[in-house]
């Protein structure tokens, strides 16, 4: 009986395409409303506080321990080549290019994405979204756009802090545990930053790669969370499902997009 199976696959494929289309529409409207009055600056600042400042602690903690463990792991490998002085380069490259953006993205997806989905989902099931509509306010403009702006701005900021704290964490281990002097560590850090060349003479290519990613990840987290929140059905149980779905979809999307962005950016910034 191939027909029912085919029909099921066909339905699933249509649903998947529909979901992508809905996300794209939501993204487009949220971006469009950035430039349309009325603006909600107070909401944007409140969301920046919620997404950025409130996430600072977990991001700093994640960055510090990641930097330390990177230094620890690489010291063992580099020691076999007698190149422990290169710890700074390894930690810096790993943090700025990959671990800083991805870990900040994953932490924020877990902490903030779930919060946004739960908040908007609760508003949906308690008819507050309908109330916004009937009061003549577009919920996308009032709820999604401020969160999108806040995430687009704050995720790169969090990533920079994550990178910096991670490199400092690496310095702590390389100095106290491996025995590489701080001056050498920081010189190798700069060597790494300068090694991949500059765009416009002054902007290191590593920074471009390290900041383009969190910008995109911020968008993924905000849109995924708002999409699942706005489409919540089924009361409080539905809110729980939206929250879970947001964390899973946003985290997987971050990891998949990270790969393709890396390939794209390496091609653009370091053409072989």
């Amino acid at each position: 009986m191939a027909t029912p199976l085919f029909e099921q696959l066909n339905t699933q494929a249509k649903l998947a395409v529909y979901a992508i289309q809905e996300r794209a529409l939501l993204s487009w409207n949220a971006v469009r409303f950035i430039f349309v009055r009325p603006f909600y600056p107070a909401d944007v600042i409140q969301q920046m506080d919620s997404i950025g400042v409130d996430s600072l602690f977990i991001v700093v903690l994640t960055g510090f321990f990641t930097g330390m463990v990177l230094a620890l792991q690489s010291s063992a490998s580099l020691a076999s080549f007698g190149e422990t002085a290169m710890i700074g380069r390894l930690v810096t490259a790993s943090m700025i290019r990959e671990l800083g953006p991805v870990l900040a993205g994953l932490m924020v997806a877990g902490r903030v994405g779930s919060g946004i989905a739960a908040e908007i989902g609760s508003m949906r099931v308690t008819e507050q979204i309908d109330a916004l509509n009937t009061l003549g306010t577009d919920p996308i403009k009032k709820l999604v756009t401020p969160r999108l702006i806040a995430a687009l701005v704050m995720l790169p900021v969090l990533t920079v802090i994550n990178d910096a704290v991670g490199i400092i964490g690496g310095n702590v281990i390389s100095t106290l545990y491996v025995g590489v002097p701080s001056s050498i560590y920081w010189r190798t850090v700069w060597d790494q930053i300068a090694s991949d060349g500059f765009t416009g003479r002054f902007i290191p290519n590593d920074f471009i790669q390290g900041l383009a990613k969190p910008f995109v990840f911020g968008g993924i987290i905000a849109i995924t969370a708002c999409y699942h929140g706005l489409n919540t059905t089924g009361g409080t149980e539905g809110v729980g499902q939206s929250t879970t779905r947001t964390v899973v979809v946003a985290s997987i999307s971050i990891l998949v997009v990270d790969y393709f962005m890396t390939q794209l950016l390496l091609g653009v910034l370091n053409p072989r």
Binding site: P38, S122, M123, T126, E127, Q128, D130, A131, N133, T134, L135, G136, T137, D138
Partner: protein
């Protein structure tokens, strides 16, 4: 305890057989008990629903006055029909209460008036203007002429009572802060709340009845010509139900707003409605004044009045 006291595999198998036998016995008893019960009372058959125009209008209304809200032969279905060939006219200052069993499309009618939904067929007119073909932004403007009170009040959790009531004023008017403050106080007083006592409170700190009143105040903030209520008295105690009903009557009396109320509460419907429409099987099967409804000899209407 000696080894002889330990249950053997045979003992356990025997115990399992006994448990299964008892369970089967009990299940058989239940089946017998069900068979011996008298059959459920057959439902009184409904009249065959026919499409009709329900007109909420007094005999004293001049002929040249046109309805504020009109649904013309509206049909809507999702996976199954929700409304079929529904026609409704509500004239200025009238309060129509739409009653009916759950799932008959009562709340859908409100959403059509608000243009949160668009009908598959038919027209929805607000003050003579067809709102079905409006764009999303144009519909937003039309909605500003209406106040909506939700079943669960739908107050914004993160805002205080003052901010909730002031919200439509901040969004759509150029009123100064002092004017907004005065308007919010006026509306809170209208719904019998003491402004200074409640303005700073969050919705979570209010009782169900107070939430409902703040919801009405928010709906009224823009001085709308049309008020829509979705189950305004559901989940409230009888005293608060009476208070909310009186409040809706007061709005009709003092402000002359045109109202559409969706309700299960037939007693409140009789008090507040100038007209009552009964929805059954996605159509209007009765339309008239509360007195006409009480006098109706239709068996479905009688059954409906008796069952609620």
């Amino acid at each position: 305890m000696s080894d002889d006291d330990e249950p053997t595999a045979e003992d356990q198998a025997f115990a399992g057989r006994v448990r299964r036998a008892i369970r089967d016995e009990l299940a058989a008893d239940k089946v017998e008990a069900r068979k011996s019960q008298p059959p459920a009372m057959p439902r009184i058959p409904r009249p065959t629903p026919t499409g009709m125009t329900c007109s909420a209008r007094r005999s004293s209304t001049p002929a040249n006055v046109s309805p504020v809200i009109a649904l013309e032969r509206v049909s809507l279905s999702f996976e199954r029909p929700v409304l079929e060939d529904v026609s409704l006219e509500i004239y200025p200052g009238e309060t129509i209460v739409i009653v009916g069993e759950s799932g008959t499309g009562k709340s859908t009618a409100l959403k059509l008036i608000l243009r949160l939904l668009v009908p598959d067929e038919g027209r929805v007119l607000i003050k003579g203007r067809d709102i079905v073909s409006l764009s999303f932004d144009e519909a937003m403007v039309v909605r500003q002429q209406m106040g909506m009170v939700f079943q669960g009040s739908a107050l914004f959790d993160s805002m205080s009572v003052f901010e909730n009531v002031a919200y439509p004023l901040r969004e759509h008017t150029t009123m100064s802060d002092d004017e907004i403050d005065a308007r919010v106080r006026e509306k809170l007083q209208f719904v019998d709340l003491v402004p200074d006592d409640v303005m700073a409170l969050l919705p979570a700190e209010l009782s169900g009845g107070m939430k409902k009143r703040v919801g009405i105040a928010r709906g009224l903030a823009n001085n709308p010509e049309i008020m829509l209520y979705d189950e305004p008295t559901s989940g409230l105690d009888p005293l608060t139900t009476g208070t909310i009903t009186r409040l809706i009557m007061k709005m009709q009396r003092e402000l002359g707003v045109t109202s559409v109320v969706v309700s299960h509460d037939i007693r409140s419907a009789n008090r507040m409605g100038t007209h009552i429409a009964v929805l059954a099987e996605h159509r209007i099967v009765f339309c008239g004044t509360p007195e006409e409804m009480a006098a109706s000899e239709d068996r479905y209407i009688q059954d409906f009045l008796g069952g609620l």
